[in-house]
């Protein structure tokens, strides 16, 4: 057994255990932590494939920023509140999810068992990724020459999303509050506002919260 397989087996099992934890744990914080484990497992696999930049970005962006924000939101909303799982917000999505899952699993198994380890048998179309620093340079070059349009469009899209989020969160009393300074304060303020303005609504909210 080569080192590559050993690394793959260890990192792969971390990924799978983490993924199962993400789905199966009851506590949302534990779910988020399992997700981090999965992301780290994937980062290790990236490194084993000599994609150092991808691994670093995986950890910085996903583990370091996105899941931290997940946890942040979970903490602010409070993890004691449990969602009522009996109500399906989108009708019929559960049976559809089961069908899709079975179909995908069947497809993957068919490919693995019947066709073999490769699907098309084609070599990578982009050529030799290079090792270490060379790999990073190649990625940067491709990103800023051939795919520069896609890159710029993504940047604009993200900027629009940020501006939109700021616009949505700035309303009424919230105009005076900086969301970056006091994240979550607006929701709190809105709640107290509701309480003073509309008693019945506040009561129903209180019932829901408990």
């Amino acid at each position: 057994m080569s080192v590559e397989s050993v690394v793959f087996v260890i990192a792969g099992s971390i990924c799978i255990v983490g993924a199962l934890g993400t789905v199966l744990f009851r506590n949302p914080v534990h779910n988020a932590l399992s997700l981090v484990a999965t992301l780290f497992g994937v980062a290790v696999i990236f490194i084993a494939q000599d994609a150092h930049l991808l691994a670093a970005i995986q950890v910085i962006v996903y583990a370091g920023a996105i899941v931290v924000l997940f946890l942040f939101v979970i903490m602010l909303l409070g993890v004691d509140r449990t969602e009522k799982l009996g109500i399906d917000p989108l009708g019929g999505q559960r049976p559809l999810a089961v069908v899709a899952a079975v179909a995908l699993l069947g497809l993957s198994l068919t490919v693995l068992l019947a066709v073999g380890s490769t699907v098309t048998g084609q070599e990578a179309a982009t050529g030799d990724p290079g090792e270490g620093a060379e790999n990073i340079a190649k990625l940067g070059e491709v990103l800023f020459t051939e795919y520069v349009l896609a890159f710029e469009v993504t940047a604009v899209l993200l900027t629009i999303a940020v501006v939109g989020a700021v616009m949505f969160s700035r309303q009424r009393k919230a105009d005076l509050i900086d969301e970056e300074e006091f994240p979550g304060l607006e929701a709190l303020l809105a709640e107290t506002e509701d309480e003073t303005e509309d008693d019945t609504e506040a009561e129903s909210e209180g019932v829901e919260a408990t």
Binding site: S2, V29, L33, A56, I60, A65, I136, E181
Partner: protein, 400 residues
Amino acid sequence: MTPLVDPLLSGPIGLQEILVVVFKVVVAFAFLMVAVMFMVWFERKLIGDMQNRIGPNRAGPWGILQTLADGVKLFFKEDLLPDNADRFVFKLAPYLALIPAFLIFTVVPVGGNYSTGDGTVSLFGEETLLQVADPPVGVLFVLAMSSVAVYGVMLAGWSSGSKYPLLGSVRATAQMISYEAALSLSVLSVILLSGTLSTSGIVAEQSQWNWNLWLTGFIPFAIFLISGTAELNRPPFDLVEAEQELVGGFHTEYSAVRFALFFLAEFMNTVTMSAIIVTLFLGGPNGPMFGPEWLQSWVLPSLWFFLKLFVFLFVFVWFRATLPRFRYDQLMDMGWKLLIPAALGWFLILAGIQVASDNDDINLALVVIVGVAIFFAGMGLLMLAMRSSRRQRQLSGVTD
């Protein structure tokens, strides 16, 4: 059997390579532990001096063994686990804080002659760099680990199951995420000028007194120092554990060894952050070279490195002794409205200068002058806009 001990998949590896790696890991770990012990003592002693006190003076000469005594005491104290705590996460959090602090140090070159040589030294008959690991993405690794360090603080506060730690950790997370942006953007300037992501490459680029400190024009250095201090949660940015408001912040519920681990992580982070500043901006182990070969390859570079490191350790203590704590809104204002725009703008100017210096048709001096003028004009306009918005807020009844 050989492939099993081949961590880099680069062919057969003998005993020498393994010895080198083990030696480097042990030395780095031991150094970091000693440095942390020294730093704790140094901080207490220096702050004592600055506040006209004596400081620790009982354990050993000048009280230098005080940290050891405190460590032993903490090991023998009762280890409390709050009833409301999430047991697994509560136990996990201190390690999540400590491990990234150590891992960052592994990519810092602590010696090696880069000025007249290629930075390698001979160890067990192997030519090797004086750093535990030299990944091609060294700087990104540092940023990744510093963003992972947020988890320790965050989960410690949450898992304690008590309100002050939770508030402290929410504050800490918001602060660390905000300042990480400014930190990364100031590192970008260094990467742009060095043209490499590896730490040894960045040090090698600064080998002829062309340190990034003046090459990048001081501003990225200032931004890095400020946001680094905020990232470390050290005064004047220690709102995370503001005693008057939050009892002890995220580690209120921690005691004994687990508290000691947080304490260790905090000081280890201070040492590694200083080492990163030295590496990125002050040329790492580069400095004047003279004397025989052994002096040049082993002694002098490490000496320069540790001298520079010491300067920054002193600066961090100095900050703590002189500056009063920021208010939370001031902290966020500075991070988002001053440091991030300044870092971004300066990065654009450096990119422009880089293009101009690569191209002979463009007048370099003109580009520099115009760029800097635009930068300061832009920052001035931003300040003006912020002042008028603050005045408007004051007029509408919210005092600032």
